[in-house]
Structure formats: structure tokens, C-alpha cells
Symmetry: C2
DNA sequence: GTTAGCACTCTTGTCGGATGAGTGCTAAGC
DNA sequence: GCTTAGCACTCATCCGACAAGAGTGCTAAC
């Protein structure tokens, strides 16, 4: 048995109908609503075939048909029509992103927010990995009597700093010397490289005073550097899931939220996905807790190289066409924004 | 009619029982379980009086009694026994906070996390207001060819910075001059003051090149300064509410989460609460959406002056004794931590 | 190959009765 | 006069029965 043209048309109608109604689709509805010129009985025969082929399932004998994960996959790959965004929607994205380009993190958060509002799903975004960012300079600046500010600047404009209280007083000269030494030692190296170097020892041979200063600053330097590697995860629109029939019982909603809340794991899932627009449907997801969800992610670029991700998660029954269009437009827009403005960034 | 000793004992038993069981308390249960040497019938009479006095309510004729907000208030003020934390719990708090004192914000987040885990409620924490923080210095540092780093340091060690791409190249001398001028102009002033000054104009009279540099930096200076005023709000343990019988229907859970999600409003509620351990029960809360909730907050201090807040929110039926003990111990511990380590802080 | 007709299945909603927890009242007991 | 046993009464909840409705699968006719 193979997928005839008519079977495909029926499958498409079922998927589309189910996506918008969340109710199993019956043969009569299909025949009436989608005017395909064949009777319910014929459709029933076809549906029976489609079920045999694994594209439909049956919650129980006398319910309509529900698309399987496999059907969604086919729908996404072949049947779905591209959905052109309305002018207002495009404008909304463009204007909202343009208005807030000063701080990279804020912009990403903003984008996630837009995404969740426009899709009525839960969205998320992660900032790029920084492992390969190269250090530009390290600065230790005076703050007050025995407080200094440690500041680390990476080549892509990412900055991070910490205020440290020292055990005793310091001289500005010592700070300048330390800053120069550190910059000389680390400039051009990647953050990961510096973190794996045996740093403390490399200062042992210096003059005593300098050694003491460095000793109290080094541990903080390393912690700060480490924190630069952290990927920020933004999530928006959690409450949207409460409007989705699939999560209308407390236990399912709880499981969903619990999955989302394991931020660490979730970040890993996102980081490990390939570039471009990626859709994984139901059982295509490895994670046990995500067997009933679909995940759509896309990548945006900063300065053409650094890669961050943006996506939505929701029930397998989601508006794939609309969502992919929004995500695509959004990430293209982000990439363009970040190209124009260059490395504008706020250390986090 | 007045509250006799026995009425109080009965009320206390009812509140305690309802807090742990979430079920209306009947006269028989009370008589058996709390061995108070009087028969169910007597207890019924007393309960009837307590209801007339406004301390108990009746979900329906044949259900047990449920404490009113007024009863919780009395319980909290008079009847509740102080709950001493177990040694392990104290140790847990002390050790977890001590291990992570480098970054203020992380520590606060950590504390909120601990709080939600130990109380099984949803917790939150806010960082101190910075309106009155005085500026220490402003620094514009070279990054690369036409990028500079703007860095603002406040007296309490709070730092914030941004990388900016300028339209054209700059000289290091100009940056130094600008840094010195800005520091000279703003040092010792509070952030709010600087924000309300008419800043741009005050640079107009400077030399032309300097004016141009200042012109492109000033708007960013102001945005960055403004962002220093943002209060960070951390929330932890949202999923805990799904284990609470009060939120076992989707609509209630949704309303709760929606209330929480209006971060701005919620932050306002917290900021406006008085210092010390404050408990507001049910209808004592002004917010409409919080009529079924109790809110317990406490303040912690940084360097003895700056004040942040920490708290939990949950159904009026919560373990007030346990929760207040945990919060008290936690905030004391936090204040002590921040005294010892001084103004260690990471700009956010 | 398509379709009308029909029996069959299964969910959903409603209704009524049984059950049980708990109260309120009354009258007896201490 | 306070306490308590006894009893009628009230609700919420559970359960089974029943009807209605949606949808299928099969068969036979077109």
C-alpha cells in the first residue's frame, strides 16, 4: 500500500484540523468541512489505510483519528504550506528588536518574549558559547582604599567584572603592573585555554609584593573567567501552557514545568542541537519527558560567527507553519541586527 | 463572649491540624487526636462560638471547620510555638551560603533556592535598591579600534559596564579626559540625582572633539546608569505549588502563576513592605489576586545599610512556625555574610 | 472504486440513591 | 450550669444506570 495523492490530501486535512481543534477528527467533519468531494465512507476507508501505515491513531473505537508523530513529520517535511507573516507582524518584530539593541542580553530576552507572544507557546533563547572567545585585556582598577575592580574584556566585546576586597592596602603602580602582566600573559588566548593553564604558579617567581597581590586576585580571576563561560538561558511565556488543552490536567502541567525547570539539562539539549531551523517531534526527542512535545529551534549569529539559539517548545500539536515562519524571521532579524551594531554587549 | 483559655486551645489545635492536613477539622477528630479530655459535643459548642467570633468558617453544613484569616493572624501572633530548626538544617544554610560568597547576586539566588527547598513553597528575593548609592567613578576605557568600554562604579562596589561602538576612532587622551571630567562631575552624587541632572548640556561648552565623543557616549551612560537602578528579582520553587492541594485545579494554578509572572507588580509589592519579618495573611494583602495567599518576607542587610528582601508566598494554610524560623535564620545569616565580606559584588 | 445504511462501540453527561462525615439541637447527667 | 449522649438533618462524594451523540467498520448496492 502506498501513499496516494488523495491519502496525502486527507492526511493533510486531518493534521491541519487537529492542530487547530485539538479534537480527534472524524470522517464526516472531514468530508463536510474540507469539501473534498468524497463521502465519509470513502474517507473512512482511506483513514483505515493511513492508520495501518502508521500515520494515524485511534484514541478509542468510536473517536475520530489523531495524527501520529510520523504524520507530523510528513506534514512538516512535505504537506505544510509556508506561512507568510502578516505585514504588521513583521513590523512588530523589526521595530521591537531595533529599539533595544544596546544590550545584547536584553535583546535576546526581548526576542524570546516576542516569540512566545506571537506563537502562544513557551519560548526560550540562549546566548552564545564563549569557550572560543579570546581575551582582549585584563584590568585591575582601584576602587577604594582596599577594594579593587577586576575587569576582563574579551575580543567580541563581552565584559565581566567583579569588585574584590583585599586583605590590605595596595599601590596603584602594583595594580598597573599586574594588569599589564596579566594582559601580556593572556591576551589572544581563549577563555578555556586560560582556565586550563596553571596560572597561580606562573606568578610565583615575581617580586614578593606583586606575588601577594596576585595571590589574592587570581582565585577571583578564575571564578570570574569561569562565569564568562556560562550560557544564559531565557524562558518566556510559561503560562501559555495553561491555555493548551494538552496540559489541562495538573499532573501533565507539573511534569512539563518540571522538565523546563531543570535548566541545566534543558540548556544542554539546546546547545547540542544542530544549526539552522531544527524541528523535533514527539518521540524524535531523546529526552523521556519530551516524548509528547515538539521542539523547534533556530540559530542566530553574532558578528557572523558566534552562535546562539532561539526556540519554542509545546505539544506535538502545534502550528508548525506559523511557528517556523516566526522563528525564521526572528533569527534572520537578530543576525542582521547584530551584524550592523557589531559587538555591542553588556557584560552580564 | 470572649476567648477562654479552652477556646484558644481548640483554635490552636484546629489551625495546626488544618495546616498539616488541608482538610476541614471535625469535632470528633479533634477530641480523639488531641486528647483534650472533652467530648466532641462540647467541642462543637466551642467551635460554634469560635465561628460566631469570626475565627472559623464552614465550607458547608456537614463539613468540619476551617480557620479564617483572622484565626491565622491570632495563631501567628499568640498561639504559634517558635520552631527551632534542626542542627542539620542550620548547618545546611550556613555551609551553603558560605561556599558562595564571591558574587552577591549568586548568593541571593542561592538563598532563595534554599528557602524554597526548606519550606516547600515558592520563594523569592530581591536585591537592594540603589537609588541612594553614590557614584564612585566613571571610566571610559579603550577596547579596540572604535569600541570603548564604559564602566560605572558605585561606592558600595556595585559596578556596571557596557561596550560601545563609536562612529569614528578616538584617542586615549580624549578618553582619559572624558573619564576624569565625568568622574569630577558625578562623584559623590547619587544615581537618581545624576539621572535627573541635565547632563548633555553640561558638556556643550567643551572643546569640539570632546563634545562629539561625549555626545555619543552620554545616551549610553544614562541607559547604563538607569539599569543600575533595576532591582533583581529571583524566584525559586515555582513547581512546589503543584504539590499544594489548594492549587490542584488548573485554573487556580494558572491564576497564581500569572500573578507571580507580573514581575514588575510583584517587585513593587515586595519593595513597599516594611523591614523585619512581616507576615501578611489572606485578605490582609492589598492585591486582589493575593487574597488566598500569605506572604512572609524578611530583610537582610548589606554593609549594615542597604536592604534587600527575601520571602515566600503560598496558601494561607502554611507552616508559619517553620517558615518564619527558616527565613529569620536565613536573613540573619545573609546579613552576617555580607558584613564579613564587605562589598564584594559583581556588577550585573 | 464509491457510497448509503446500519449495527456496534465507546465517551460524556445526567440523574438518583447509597454512604458517610459532620453538624445542631435537645434532653439527660453530673 | 456545664457537659455529654443521642438523633435528625445536611451536604459532598461515590457509584451505577441510562440516554445521547459521535464515530467507526462492515456489507451490499450502485
Amino acid at each position: 500500500m502506498e501513499l496516494t495523492e488523495r491519502k496525502l490530501r486527507i492526511l493533510q486535512a486531518i493534521v491541519a484540523d487537529f492542530i487547530s481543534s485539538a479534537e480527534p477528527v472524524g470522517s464526516r467533519t472531514l468530508s463536510k468541512k474540507y469539501g473534498m468531494g468524497i463521502s465519509p465512507a470513502t474517507i473512512r476507508n482511506e483513514m483505515s489505510d493511513l492508520e495501518e501505515l502508521g500515520y494515524l491513531t485511534h484514541p478509542h473505537t468510536s473517536a475520530g483519528r489523531v495524527p501520529s508523530d510520523r504524520a507530523y513529520r510528513l506534514y512538516v517535511d512535505k504537506l505544510m504550506e509556508k506561512c507568510e507573516l502578516a505585514k504588521e507582524e513583521k513590523q512588530r518584530i523589526s521595530s521591537q528588536l531595533a529599539s533595544n539593541i544596546v544590550e545584547l542580553d536584553k535583546t535576546i530576552e526581548h526576542a524570546a518574549n516576542l516569540l512566545s507572544e506571537m506563537t502562544s507557546l513557551m519560548s526560550f533563547a540562549i546566548t552564545p558559547k564563549q569557550e572560543e572567545s579570546k581575551l582582549q585585556y585584563v584590568n585591575v582598577l582601584p576602587a577604594d582604599e582596599n577594594t579593587v575592580v577586576l575587569m576582563i574584556v574579551a575580543e567580541n566585546g563581552k565584559i565581566k567584572n567583579t569588585a574584590l576586597k583585599l586583605a590590605g592596602p595596595y599601590t596603584e603602580d602594583a595594580l598597573t603592573l599586574l594588569s599589564k602582566t596579566m594582559t601580556y600573559n593572556y591576551r589572544g588566548r581563549t577563555i578555556s585555554d586560560v582556565l586550563t593553564m596553571d596560572i597561580i604558579r606562573s606568578f610565583e617567581t615575581d617580586i614578593e609584593a606583586m606575588g601577594r597581590l596576585a595571590e589574592s586576585i587570581m582565585p577571583n580571576f578564575l571564578t570570574t573567567l569561569e562565569s564568562m563561560l556560562d550560557i544564559n538561558l531565557y524562558m518566556e511565556g510559561l503560562t501559555n501552557i495553561f491555555s493548551i488543552p494538552e496540559y489541562n490536567n495538573i499532573e501533565k502541567a507539573r511534569l512539563f514545568i518540571e522538565m523546563i525547570n531543570q535548566k541545566k539539562n534543558f540548556t544542554d539539549v539546546l546547545v547540542n542541537r544542530e544549526d539552522g531551523v531544527i524541528i523535533t517531534i514527539g518521540n524524535e526527542n531523546k529526552d523521556d519527558l519530551m516524548q509528547d512535545c515538539s521542539l523547534i529551534t533556530a540559530t542566530y549569529h553574532i558578528d557572523g560567527t558566534l552562535v546562539g539559539k532561539l526556540g519554542v517548545i509545546g505539544p506535538t500539536r502545534m502550528k508548525y507553519d506559523k511557528v517556523t515562519s516566526v522563528i525564521e524571521f526572528l533569527t534572520e532579524n537578530l543576525s542582521r541586527t547584530f551584524k550592523l551594531t557589531g559587538g555591542d554587549d553588556e557584560q552580564q
